[in-house]
């Protein structure tokens, strides 16, 4: 038990996290000292394969930066869970719910063992207020996703029309 912990310990230091955060586009513009602060105020959490980071419909209280491992983004449909995306190392999930105070729009379930940095809602919002460049970056990411979603929607519609015809 002790051995496994110490083994992990060698790879999970604050400064490594800072390195990882730096690789994420969203945080790349932040000064290293702030990234360290962000890492320090966040929780380092681990999940086994098949565990959920959060469930669709929950109240959003944190965003997650994935440090290692993979997870599926699942949305409940009438026919069951539909996988809409996959997230992996260096991506951030769960930020929408804490930005607009809505329940979680999807479930995120790990497919491998996963390590993540859990950034609490209040800390995240405080960071946005302190660093406008981060807010702009968030906007950019969201706009990207929106345009992607729109094109997917258009495609889906045209497919549906073809099918009807």
């Amino acid at each position: 038990m002790l051995a496994t912990h110490s083994e992990k310990r060698t790879v999970m230091l604050l400064k490594d996290e800072v390195e990882m955060l730096r690789r994420i586009t969203l945080f790349s513009g932040l000064p290293p000292a702030k990234l360290k602060l962000l890492a320090f105020t966040s929780d380092r959490v681990i999940y086994g394969a098949g565990e959920s980071l959060f469930h669709q419909g929950d109240i959003g209280d944190a965003a997650y930066v994935i440090l290692s491992g993979r997870a599926d983004v699942l949305v409940a449909t009438q026919t069951g869970q539909l996988k809409v995306a996959e997230v992996e190392q260096n991506s951030i999930v769960g930020e929408i719910a804490i930005l607009c105070n809505t329940p979680r729009t999807a479930t995120v379930k790990t497919t491998t063992a996963l390590e993540a940095l859990r950034i609490r809602k209040d800390d995240f919002l405080k960071l946005l207020a302190d660093f406008p460049e981060m807010a702009v970056e968030i906007m950019r990411v969201l706009a990207d996703r929106l345009s992607q979603t729109t094109s997917e929607l258009t495609e889906a519609r045209s497919r549906a029309q073809r099918a009807e015809a």
Partner: protein, 903 residues
């Protein structure tokens, strides 16, 4: 209540007053004897009067008196004593008289004091008894603090006055009258002058006192209002601060205090003016004696001896007279106070005492219907909340009342619950008016719960069972001293007109909760708590509480035994890495370095801080273990990291909540310290500075803070130093640390920490949730659940239940009503503080609970959510105080079903 205090006192203490008067009269005999004795001693044995010869003797204690027409009767000729013997004998008699006088005084004072205290007890009880019988509307007008001030403070002087109420005027009046008669006997004219002045005093002084009485009444009222305002400030402190109105309150209090000051100052001025006048009149009399009497004496119309005798006699008049006037002042004072209080408590219509009469027997169920008959209820302003409503609730029926807050359903429920009285119309139970029936019927067979909850200060369990405490049901058998004490209690209660109900008796009516005794009541409690979804809340309170293992030895043992079970369970569920257990021989990475080093928790933080600073023990042990320098380096590292992270943040930044090593204000100091210590080895650093740095290590948890400071070697060193810390702990430090012992219950830790005996890993977000669920489950399988729940029931809910959340209070209130087996349950939106889903769930649970075992009590539920009305037999819909629709719920549904089938 009796409006005149003197009559009230006389009615209740007549016999005692007469007795004490008799004793006082008796006490006068030795009192006057002791006056004459000094003269006898000085004149007799000391100056030698009657001891002319050296061998002369005198009779001591001769008993003889003159019988008119018979001559002298000599009963006892006395002992013949010489001069020295006589001196000793008379001195001893003097001593005896001193003792007798003292004993009389002692007896009289204690008797009067006891009399006063008993009367005070009686009047206080009577007042509280009246509060218990006030009509509901009165409570909207009075402030609780004012009532308690009246009962506590304003009647207090009455006790002191009671003993003197009749004895004092009799005694002083007698003395004054004697003196006056004596003067009259000496000289008629001078006597008449004295009598005239006395008459002036008797007329003028009370007249002047009238103003004093008015002022006294004002003083009392303003003081009472002040206490009301102070309690308002305490109750409304949130509102005051929230609206920045504290200065308005300051102004109000200052104005009130100013008014009180003015009244009190006026009072003093008048009081001393009256005193001045009184003294003046008293002194005028001798002036008249000297001038007029002297003039007559010069003219030879008055004997000089007579004049001297009159002046001598007058000495005895002003004393009693002054005291008499003082007594009168006190009398008026307490009379005003008494009248004021009585006026406040003379509320009509008071509930008849018979309605609240105690009933120890169980009450037969109500078989008739509960009904509102042409009922109108008005609020304080006179506007009608319910108008001419007739609604019958038959036994066993479930009625949903809908219509929202303006409908009037809530007011109807309050009228059913006897919280408001009808303006017109009646509430009847069967054929009787609900307000004529004793509370032992309507207060037990009808249960009411609303969202306005009152929780009494005390344990959660006491509050839950509060609704079962109607009467003392067991006879407590007292033995020895306790029996004597109980006899005394009963006697005193009787003498002060208090009831003799025994608070130590078991007041819980188990039958009313469908239990047979304390043992199976718990099952019922649990069932009710499950129904209102309060069990988990209470379990959470319970596992976070600390218990004294000495008192609960068996339980503590079971908890210790549970540690192993928890481990096995976690292993079985492959959750072992959720918790890192404390092992004497290994480092616990999820615990702080401090915990690892001490292998225990600090129980006395203040002493620990001090010991860390100036006790040599820590330093020596750290040095011996080779940790002193390592810790210093580590502390520097932590300080450096913290300063780097938090330097630029304003002190109120929310990130500081994550900072456990130091307070936000300490950062600049540490920054300076780091500058100072840079590049210096530990031996070059002052002791104080080294401690400041080293102490930072104690709070460090590697997985949480992730500074990368712990090496395998360091951890084993810390584990090694552990033993020295526990075994070598000097005597003066014992008691500030409680060590982790795998086979011992830790008194300073909570129940859950004792079960875990380890730390939940920081890396599992829902770790504590999952552990809590597993622990709850384990409690259940090991049969400890009820024990733990019982500790939760011991939780002190605080003043007004403020230590519980609003939702918990409402659940508790509902549970309090449910645990009573009643025939009618009136629920007036009892769960407003809960969310819709929980409300719905509990409502369904309550229906299931009240409908089990063939029970079918009637349910009247004022619903906030009309969707739930499907559970009910009937739905009564209110709009603007009128009942607009009253229809069966099921029939409507059945009709449509039927129609569907038919089509």
């Amino acid at each position: 209540m009796e409006t005149r205090l003197s009559r009230y006192i006389w009615t209740h203490t007549r016999k005692q007053q007469l007795w004490i008067l008799l004793v006082v009269a008796l006490s006068m005999i030795p009192y006057f004897l002791s006056f004459d004795l000094p003269k006898q001693i000085v004149n007799g044995p000391i100056q030698g009067e009657g001891f002319e010869g050296p061998e002369a003797t005198q009779a001591f204690l001769p008993v003889s008196f003159n019988l008119p027409g018979f001559g002298e009767v000599n009963l006892f000729s006395g002992f013949q004593l010489e001069r020295e013997g006589m001196l000793l004998a008379l001195s001893l008699v003097f001593l005896l008289l001193v003792i007798v006088n003292g004993l009389f005084k002692f007896y009289i004072n204690t008797y009067k004091g006891r009399l006063g205290e008993r009367l005070l007890r009686r009047i206080r009880f009577e007042l509280v008894d009246r509060v218990l019988r006030f009509p509901p509307s009165h409570f909207k007008r009075v402030k609780p603090a004012e009532i308690s001030t009246m009962i506590k403070d304003e009647v207090e002087p009455l006790g002191g006055f009671t003993g003197d109420a009749f004895v004092q005027p009799a005694l002083l009046g007698g003395q004054a009258l004697t003196a006056l008669i004596f003067i009259l006997l000496q000289s008629l004219w001078l006597g008449l002058i004295a009598a005239f002045i006395v008459a002036i005093q008797a007329v003028i002084i009370p007249r002047m006192r009238r103003r004093l009485i008015v002022l006294g009444r004002e003083r009392q009222l303003t003081a009472r209002e002040l206490s009301g305002r102070v309690s308002e400030i305490v109750d409304g402190i949130g509102t005051i601060r929230g609206h920045d109105t504290s200065n308005y309150e300051r102004a109000d209090i200052a104005a009130r205090l100013g008014r009180i000051f003015k009244i009190r100052y006026d009072l003093y001025q008048w009081k001393f003016l009256v005193k001045f006048l009184n003294n003046f009149l008293a002194q005028v009399t001798p002036f008249l004696f000297y001038s007029i009497g002297g003039y007559f004496a010069l003219q030879g119309r008055l004997d000089i001896g007579q004049l001297v005798a009159v002046i001598g006699a007058y000495k005895d008049l002003p004393g009693p007279l002054k005291e008499l006037i003082d007594w009168d002042q006190a009398r008026q004072d307490v009379q005003v106070k008494y009248a004021q209080v009585v006026e406040q408590f003379s509320v009509e219509p008071l509930i008849d005492p018979g309605v609240q009469a105690i009933s120890v027997t169980s009450v037969a169920p109500i078989t008739g219907a509960l009904a509102a008959v042409n009922l109108s209820v008005a609020d304080d302003g006179g506007s009608r909340l319910v108008e001419h409503v007739s609604l019958q609730v038959r036994p066993g029926e479930a009625i949903a009342i809908t219509g929202g807050s303006t409908g009037g359903g809530e007011a109807l429920a309050e009228a059913f619950g006897r919280l408001t009285w009808p303006e017109s119309g009646r509430i009847v139970v069967g054929d009787d008016d609900i307000h004529d029936l004793p509370e032992s019927i309507v207060g037990r067979r009808i249960s009411y719960a609303s969202s306005e909850v009152y929780t009494f200060q005390g344990s959660l369990g006491d509050n839950l069972l509060y609704g079962l405490k109607h009467a003392p049901l067991t006879e407590v058998v007292y033995e020895g001293d306790k029996a004597a004490h109980r006899r005394w209690e009963l006697l005193e209660a009787k003498l002060a007109g208090n009831p003799s109900l025994d608070l130590n008796s078991d007041w819980i009516d188990y039958g009313a909760a469908a239990a047979t005794g304390p043992d199976d009541l718990f099952a019922k409690v649990r069932e009710v708590l499950d129904t209102v979804l309060l069990t988990n809340d209470i379990m959470a309170l319970a596992v976070r509480s600390t218990i004294n293992p000495a008192q609960h030895e068996a339980f503590a043992g079971e908890i210790v035994a549970m540690r192993g079970a928890l481990r096995r369970r976690l292993e079985a569920e492959k959750l072992s890495d959720l918790v890192v257990f404390f092992e004497p021989g290994s480092y616990n990475v999820e615990a702080t370095i401090g915990e690892n080093l001490l292998f225990g928790t600090v129980t006395d933080q203040a002493r620990w801080e001090k010991a860390l600073e100036d006790h040599p023990f820590f330093k020596t042990v750290l040095k011996r273990a080779g940790l002193h320098e390592a810790f210093y380096e580590m502390g520097l590292e932590i300080a450096g990291n913290v300063v780097e992270l938090f330097r630029d943040l304003p002190p109120d930044h929310p990130f500081f909540q994550q900072l456990t090593f130091m307070a936000a204000e300490e950062i600049p100091a540490y920054e300076a310290l780091l500058q100072k210590l840079r590049g210096r080895a530990i031996d070059e650093v002052s002791e104080d500075d080294a401690i400041k740095i080293i102490r930072l290590c104690f709070g460090y948890i590697e997985p949480r803070h992730r500074f990368g400071l712990l090496s395998e070697e360091l951890m084993s060193q810390i584990v090694k130093a552990r033993r020295e810390f526990s075994e070598g702990l000097p005597e003066d430090l014992i008691g500030i640390i409680e060590h982790y012992q795998p086979n011992h219950y830790m008194a300073s830790a909570s129940i859950i920490d004792n079960v875990l005996f380890g730390r939940i890993g920081h890396r599992h977000t829902d770790g504590s949730e999952r552990i809590r669920a597993i622990v709850r489950d384990l409690f259940e399988t090991l049969g400890l659940y009820n024990n733990v729940l019982a500790f939760g029931l011991d939780f002190d809910v605080g003043a007004g239940g403020k230590r519980l959340t609003a939702g918990q209070r409402q659940k508790l209130n509902l549970a309090r009503a449910l645990i009573r087996m009643s025939d009618f349950y009136i629920f007036n939106q009892p769960l407003l503080a809960l969310d819709q889903r929980a409300q719905e769930q509990i409502t369904r649970n309550v229906f299931a609970f009240l409908r089990q075992d063939d029970r079918k009590p009637a349910i009247v539920w004022v619903l906030a959510n009309p969707a739930l009305s499907e559970l009910f037999d009937r739905q009564a819909h209110f709009e603007n105080g009128h009942l607009v629709r009253d229809e069966a719920v099921e029939t409507a549904a059945k009709d449509s079903d039927y129609k569907e089938l038919a089509s």
